[in-house]
Symmetry: C2
Subunit: 369 residues, 2 copies
């Protein structure tokens, strides 16, 4: 599967849309705020850029897309005031894959610009927002054009399904599963790990060419707590999704071969893997990192909602808004409602027995001068 | 009416879409090709930019959107080879208003990039395409970032309906018309002309800040042949559209007041007006200009079409694909089919008696070093 031309968050503003089901990702953005603020302050303290290039990689659509940029602009504005300097011209790039709903973001831009001017008045300099569609596993921007790069909830997506998930005769090696699982053979684990390393290394090399010396990155992605990818919670959302598919196989609603041949282009690395690749690639220095836990449903209570969804339904909607484009492409759209109905039930049952959380990693990087 | 947040070419690929009804604009793009080629050659001969900023202002969507860029990239590539130089990094900006269908353009980008690599091989350097939504009557890009600016079939759209089209009591001065007409009072002509001058002057001043010294622009827009805007063909498409609306008024399908209060945010200037504003604003020198005629239906014969549309229908579809967003906003979508059915008939009748053409202007500009 070519992730590049298929993967996108669910469009629009309906009940299965990403716009309506991205509060977990929103919490993850919040958690990286201090690291982002620190990076902006350090960039502005150590240089006086006339133009400041800023990129948000994997910006998605809906309310989260402009939230990140809005906060970065606030940080640049307030830091410039503290330092008693004019604000640099901000050149902001929003990036996501070609099928992302950029029209949705652009529809919010007039009110975004109006708000900036109202709040910041004449002290607000120029801010030029553009969209750069394409994969961040490769060059996206001109050389030496970026001062700050942000990416949230995106780098756990691989550029493609790893090679090597079939034997020499084309038989699936990860039968009945759609991601690394306790029952997966060692070669499946290796294939996933190698794909991540290769992709992440291309990511770093590409950004290195695009960023100025002294530029900074804050990368936030789903990871795992231990070196062993089959322990802990990191693969559990896929485990339960595979289980939902297999109940449909057992009732003849989905072909078993379809499940065997599907593998998610996803990898939740541990912090050591990420740090090791950064060191190996050599362009960046790690300035800080943290790992924290977040509940599958974001730990949120639906406020003011007379008929709240169950936790299982909330989790199922969150996952559906993200993975549906890939699942539709492989299994067809006709089974989506039923699949995610079953998934909600299975998740609900799982959560009634175990509190299950994602591990999220935040890594701050500098491109040395 | 705020042109900014309403005007867009009809989306999608259906029979009333801009994508399916933009062959006139396509011919207009072709006519500006020699001027564009000349500008690219001159830029590359007189400087050695490492990065070359290129903007297409009012790019729209559909097949025309990437056609312009594709040809510019070809020109840069072939000129670089002729001069035996490496190709500069191309930083390409596609601009249109916020409601333009950028998703449609982005869907074509993967095959665009593939084609470039296939055709040009390793000699093809980097090309970074981004979208910059917003009005070109104001700043869109960072300072000193553009080497070449192209705009086709866009600058005849004003930033807003001119002020001064009502008397002191709020009564419409251009009753029964939707643009300058023979029966329009002098003050209506003046209001349109002043709005154009003011908008075009802001356009030039904005580009001047964004362009490097020695940078070039090729601007192509609908104009008129004579100083007097009420003679010749320049206002005839609006005249017939107003007539179509008035037939609906006479049958009680549209309120007369609705027609009286609608005025198109459009102006077809004569070459002298354009040149005079360029001189007055002072940032650019005119390097060349031409005016030519193009048939309302592009003079095209539908090839391989078993049931060809009448010329009236073709013209009505061309105009509908462009103006429908504004007409829907003012009159409601329920009258669109009927309005353009009548318009097709009236145009057909008109064309059976008179060959009617647009005048198109092409102006080449340089920002002096």
């Amino acid at each position: 599967m070519e992730t590049l031309e298929i993967l996108h968050m669910n469009k629009g503003a309906g009940e299965t849309s990403y716009a309506m089901n991205s509060s977990v990702q929103n919490k993850i953005i919040s958690a990286a705020k201090p690291a982002t603020k620190k990076a902006i302050v350090q960039i502005l303290c150590s240089s006086l850029p006339e133009k400041m290039g800023i990129a948000d990689l994997g910006c998605s659509s809906g309310p989260n897309a402009l939230r990140v940029i809005s906060e970065i602009v606030d940080d640049v504005y307030s830091t410039s005031r503290l330092l008693d300097r004019p604000m640099p011209e901000l050149v902001v790039y929003l990036n996501d894959l070609y099928t992302n709903d950029f029209n949705n973001i652009f529809g919010s831009l007039p009110s975004f610009y109006r708000k900036q001017k109202q709040e910041k008045g004449s002290g607000f300099g120029s801010c030029f927002i553009s969209a750069v569609p394409g994969t961040f596993y490769g060059r996206l921007f001109p050389s030496n054009s970026l001062h700050f790069v942000h990416s949230s909830s995106s780098l756990h997506w691989l550029s493609q399904v790893p090679g090597g998930l079939e034997d020499g005769c084309g038989r699936a090696l990860n039968k009945g599963k759609i991601y690394i699982s306790k029952s997966s053979p060692e070669c499946v684990l290796d294939a996933y790990s190698e794909q991540f390393k290769s992709d992440f290394s291309v990511f770093l090399a590409s950004r290195s060419q695009e960023m100025v010396s002294g530029g900074r990155m804050v990368l936030s992605l789903i990871g795992r707590e231990s070196m062993d990818p089959t322990t802990g919670h990191s693969c559990y959302q896929w485990e339960l999704l595979a289980r939902s598919l297999m109940t449909m196989v057992s009732e003849g609603l989905v072909e078993e071969e379809k499940v065997d041949s599907f593998d998610a282009p996803y990898y939740a690395p541990c912090l050591e893997e990420v740090k090791s690749e950064i060191q190996k690639e050599g362009s960046f220095m790690v300035d800080g990192h943290e790992a924290y836990e977040i509940d599958w449903d974001g730990g949120m209570e639906m406020e003011g909602d007379a008929s709240p969804l169950s936790r299982g339904e909330r989790v199922a909607r969150t996952i559906r808004a993200v993975v549906e484009s890939m699942f539709e492409w492989h299994f067809g759209c006709h089974i989506m409602d039923e699949l995610f109905r079953r998934y909600a039930e299975i998740v609900e049952e799982h959560l009634s027995k175990t509190r299950t959380r994602y591990i999220n990693l935040v890594i701050s990087l500098i491109k040395p001068s």
